[in-house]
Structure formats: structure tokens, C-alpha cells
């Protein structure tokens, strides 16, 4: 909630008007492509979890299958008492993840699979349908992304809103922003009219590194694309490496979304969400 909304009624009208400064923060294209992306990335992550479940092991290099050593896996084994336990392993580290990863419940039955049914599309095991969802949404993601990128460059959105301003990329300013984030303190007044420097750098990494990396590693898993662009295999260290990077990047996107949503709540969920729907943002008073 912004300070202005809790301002005492006795405040002079002029003062109140100054505090309730409303700016037009998000353009229509940014808002529409943002919400489409929310839907598409959710569906891509969940159908991707279905696809991962078909072989819940990750490798490094060109090839990798059951006889090879995975660098990451979700698996199941029987406990001495006969009950099934789910485990998740990264390198030599193995932790018990029964109930979530490896072994979970689905409609009252115990199922052996990587991700639980409540994280996959469809919720039941169906690789063919998971792939259908994934590739349809991937095409939609590419089209939506291209519209956003074209708009971002042509309208000046990237240059004006996303690229850090000169004064923001000084060590002093960045350290100050880190300290503000640690204290959960958000900018107010004039400073709240632009994204903070950590926010801008994070958006740049997501827009220009993470999301393109998802697409590129996804395409590297396509045997057809590998014949057209064999350099993709060299870039990512082979098809199985690309599958691993695809998985890691997907998890980084989940991490980004979690932090993003937490920040929205900390900064004032009503004002932030409203600005992403209507475009109008109430500038928090000093």
C-alpha cells in the first residue's frame, strides 16, 4: 500500500494531490505481452515437467542413457520396509524427496515419476500430449517474444526503461540498491518512477540471456535443427548438455518469477498489479 493512501485526512488538499501523483508506467504492448508470457511460461514449465518425467535424468555431453552416469536425477527405490522412497541427486549428493520428487501421490495412488502430477500438464503421465502442449506454447512464446522485442527496440522501451541510466551504474549506486533490497526498502518519489538498477539488470538478463537460452537449448534438442545448425551442438556441448542447460535455465526462470512476485508484494501488490493491468502507477510518496 502506498503512503499516500494512508495519508491522514487532515492533510491539505494540495499536499494530498501532490502525493497521489499517478504516472502512465507500462505501455499497452508491454502489458499484453507480459500477461501472455505469464500464461505461456506457466504452461511451458508444466508441460516441460511432463516431458522431463519421461526420462528424469540429466547428462553432460552428446549422448546419455540408462547405462551412463547422470549428473542429476530424480529416482525411486524401495526402503527396507518395502515402502517406496523418492530421491533427488545432484552429482554425489542425494536427498530424500519422497512425496514431491521421485515418488508422489496422484489421486490416492503412489506414482514413481520425477515431478508430481500437480506440477505437470497433463496431470497424468502422457508424454505425447505434454509434447503437443509444449511445442504449441513454444511457438506462441516465440511470436509473443518477437512482438515484445520489436516493440522494445522500436519504441525505445529498452533504452528508456530497461537499460540502466548512467547514474545507476556506479558502484556506489549499485551497493546502495543492494543494501535497500536487503532492508526490503523500496524507492519512493522521483526514484520510484524508474526501475531500480538491480531490477533493470535482472530484466536484461531474463530478456536477453535466459529466455533466448531456453529457446536455443530447446532447438538444440531437435535432430532436425541440429542438421541445419550444427554449431548449436558445439555451443552447448552436445544434445544432452543442451537438455541439462534447458532444465537449469527453466529453474532459473522459476527463481526469477518467485523473486519477482515477492517484490511485487513488498512494493505494494495493488499498485503494482494495477499498473501492469491499466498502465497507471501511483508514485509512492517520499
Amino acid at each position: 500500500m502506498s503512503a499516500s493512501e494512508t495519508a491522514p485526512q487532515s492533510a491539505p488538499a494540495a499536499e494530498k494531490a501532490r502525493r497521489r501523483e499517478v504516472i502512465y508506467r507500462h505501455s499497452l504492448v508491454v502489458r499484453v505481452t507480459h500477461w501472455i508470457n505469464v500464461l505461456l511460461i506457466s504452461l511451458l514449465l508444466m508441460s516441460g515437467a511432463q516431458i522431463f518425467n519421461a526420462h528424469s535424468r540429466l547428462y553432460w555431453g552428446a549422448a546419455g542413457a540408462d547405462a551412463d552416469t547422470p549428473i542429476f536425477q530424480m529416482s525411486a527405490h524401495a526402503r527396507p520396509n518395502g515402502q517406496l522412497a523418492g530421491t533427488t541427486s545432484l552429482g554425489g549428493l542425494t536427498i530424500d524427496t519422497t512425496g514431491v520428487f521421485g515418488v508422489s501421490q496422484y489421486h490416492g495412488a503412489t506414482v514413481v515419476q520425477g515431478f508430481p502430477g500437480w506440477l505437470t500438464i497433463p496431470s497424468y503421465r502422457d508424454l505425447a500430449t505434454g509434447r503437443r502442449w509444449h511445442f504449441f506454447m513454444a511457438w506462441a512464446f516465440v511470436i509473443n517474444g518477437l512482438i515484445y522485442l520489436a516493440f522494445g527496440f522500436l519504441s525505445g522501451h529498452f533504452r528508456r526503461d530497461v537499460a540502466p541510466d548512467r547514474d545507476q551504474i556506479t558502484p556506489r549506486h549499485i551497493l546502495r540498491s543492494v543494501w535497500d533490497h536487503i532492508r526490503l526498502k523500496h524507492p519512493t518519489g522521483a526514484e520510484a518512477k524508474r526501475y531500480n538498477v538491480l531490477q533493470k539488470l535482472t530484466y536484461l538478463v531474463v530478456i536477453f540471456v535466459l529466455l533466448p537460452l531456453m529457446l536455443a537449448t530447446g532447438l538444440t534438442m531437435s535432430p532436425g535443427m541440429d542438421s541445419v545448425a550444427p554449431w548449436l551442438l558445439d555451443l552447448f556441448g552436445g544434445r544432452q548438455s543442451a537438455r541439462t542447460i534447458h532444465f537449469v535455465s527453466a529453474n532459473l526462470i522459476v527463481l526469477f518469477v518467485l523473486v519477482h512476485v515477492v517484490e511485487v508484494f513488498l512494493a505494494g501488490v495493488v499498485n503494482e498489479v494495477r499498473s501492469m493491468i491499466t498502465g497507471r502507477y501511483v508514485v509512492p510518496g517520499d
Binding site: L43, M46, I51, F52, A54, H55, R57, Y59, A62, A63, G64, A65, D66, A67, D68, G117, W118, I121, P122, S123, Y124, D126, L127, A128, T129, R131, R132, W133, F135, F136, A138, W139, L219, M221, S222, P223, G224, M225, D226, S227, V228, P230, L233, R239, Q240, R243
Partner: protein
């Protein structure tokens, strides 16, 4: 009293979130089963197919690997031991009586023994096999090139697809394994009827005596135990009508991705 109210409110929010999540999942499951929505999702396959065919105009080859990259163990998957008396009889005489039937829309139907196949224009390639499940294995395949074989049989201009009929009874009696590819893949230099893996006669588990290799697509397109090749102009009259065993069960006909 107040704290109990707070807990119940929190419980309400958690319950509502779980309920909403459940509704969304149930909605996705219902969409997954709705024919019209499936048709919408399936439209992406045509886009992928046309895009990749456009990009592949120069007929690039799938990557070939050095011998050192060959997988120590090439995973066995799908059907690894066909049933049926006919296949067992072939296996019993080490495929001496095997004949590959080449028919359909061709001017000169052929019936080729394994020795005759081995005398045709051949190719050996060390390639990566990508299962739709996600794993990969590298092996060296040797076999007769499909393109010259089709030309020798006098492929008719009306032919649009090549169908591979298999001895594999994975789907039970009455629905043997089959696959199909377009002519672009049929005439691709790396598309071969493989009779050897890693320098040895093709093992039964990998599809003896003949396995299709169509290197720019996923594993289920690499039909094992090939008994007959048929040139056709359409796929909808064959079994489930989708062009292959797994295609009839929901998978993409174009498995280049």
C-alpha cells in the same frame, strides 16, 4: 478468538489457492482430451514441419561422430523381441529366407534377400539416436541407401510417402508396428535400411534384420524389423491413419523436434 480467526483465514487462502490450482489442472486435463483443442495444439506440428523443411532446403546431414564417441551400451527400447511364428522362422535360419518386399506406387515391385540388400549402394554412419523420452545413444549404422532403392523400383510420381511395415507386434495382434516418412527424408543421403550396428549384423533387440535409419528424426521413426516398404499417396487408409504406430497413439508424425 482473534488468532483462531487469523488461522482460519490463512487456511481459507491456502485452501482457495489449492482449489484454484486444482481447477486449473483439471481444466488443462479436460482441454488435453477435447478433440477440438487437441486439433489446435496439433497445428503446431505443421508449423514445425514446414519451418524445418524450409531451413533444410540444402539437405544438410545429421552430425556424424568419431568412433570414439560410440556409446558403450546402446540402450534397447520399444520392442526388443518380436513374437509371431513367421519372425521366429526367419530368426531360426538366420534370415536366409528373409525377403524385403518393395511395393505400392512403384513400376517394378521388388523382393530382396539380405544378400541382395547388402549388394546395393551402401552407407556407413556414426550418428546420434534421440529417443522421444529424452535420452541419446551413439552408434555406427551400415545399410542400403533408401533413395537409390526406390529409384530402382521405379517410384511413381503419385507417391508422396514411404511406409515401413514391421514384424514387430508391440501393439498386439492386428496392429503391427509401422512408420512412414516423406520423400524428402526418403531421398536424404543418410536415410538407410541398416543391416549392421557397430560393425556387427544388426542384433534382434535393435531390429534384425533391417532397421530404418532416418537420422534427422526421433527414435520412434527408426522402424525396427522392417519386412516391407510401400510407396503410397496418402496415409489415412493405413491402421489408425496417422502414419505410424506411435502417431496413432498421439505422437507427432513429424518427429524432427
Amino acid at each position: 478468538m482473534k488468532s483462531r480467526l487469523a488461522v482460519s483465514r490463512r487456511g481459507l487462502i491456502a485452501g482457495a489457492s489449492a482449489g484454484l490450482g486444482g481447477l486449473v489442472l483439471a481444466g488443462c486435463d479436460r482441454l488435453s482430451r477435447a478433440p477440438s483443442y487437441r486439433d489446435l495444439l496439433n497445428s503446431a506440428e505443421g508449423l514445425t514441419y514446414r519451418s524445418q523443411r524450409l531451413l533444410e532446403a540444402a539437405q544438410p546431414l545429421a552430425r556424424e561422430f568419431p568412433a570414439s564417441a560410440i556409446s558403450r551400451i546402446f540402450k534397447l527400447n520399444g520392442s526388443i523381441q518380436p513374437g509371431g511364428a513367421a519372425y521366429h522362422a526367419l530368426l531360426a535360419d538366420n534370415f536366409a529366407s528373409y525377403r524385403l518386399a518393395v511395393g505400392g506406387l512403384v513400376a517394378r515391385p521388388l523382393s530382396l534377400s539380405l544378400d541382395q540388400l547388402k549388394a546395393l549402394a551402401a552407407r556407413t554412419q556414426i550418428t546420434r539416436h534421440d529417443c522421444v523420452e529424452g535420452w541419446s545413444a551413439i552408434g555406427q549404422w551400415s545399410g542400403a541407401r533408401l533413395g537409390p532403392l526406390l529409384l530402382a523400383a521405379g517410384l511413381r510420381p503419385s507417391a508422396r510417402y514411404i511406409v515401413f511395415h514391421c514384424a514387430d507386434d508391440l501393439g498386439g495382434p492386428g496392429s503391427p508396428y509401422y512408420e512412414s516418412i516423406d520423400l524428402v527424408d526418403a531421398f536424404h543421403p543418410q536415410t538407410i535400411l541398416a543391416y549392421a550396428l557397430n560393425g556387427q549384423p544388426l542384433p534382434v533387440g535393435h531390429g534384425a534384420p533391417i532397421r530404418l535409419r532416418v537420422e534427422r528424426q526421433l527414435g520412434y521413426k527408426q522402424a525396427k524389423f522392417v519386412m516391407g516398404i510401400e510407396a503410397v499417396d496418402r496415409l489415412d487408409g493405413i491402421q489408425g491413419g496417422k502414419g505410424g504406430f506411435w502417431e496413432d497413439r498421439g505422437y507427432e508424425w513429424y518427429a524432427g523436434i
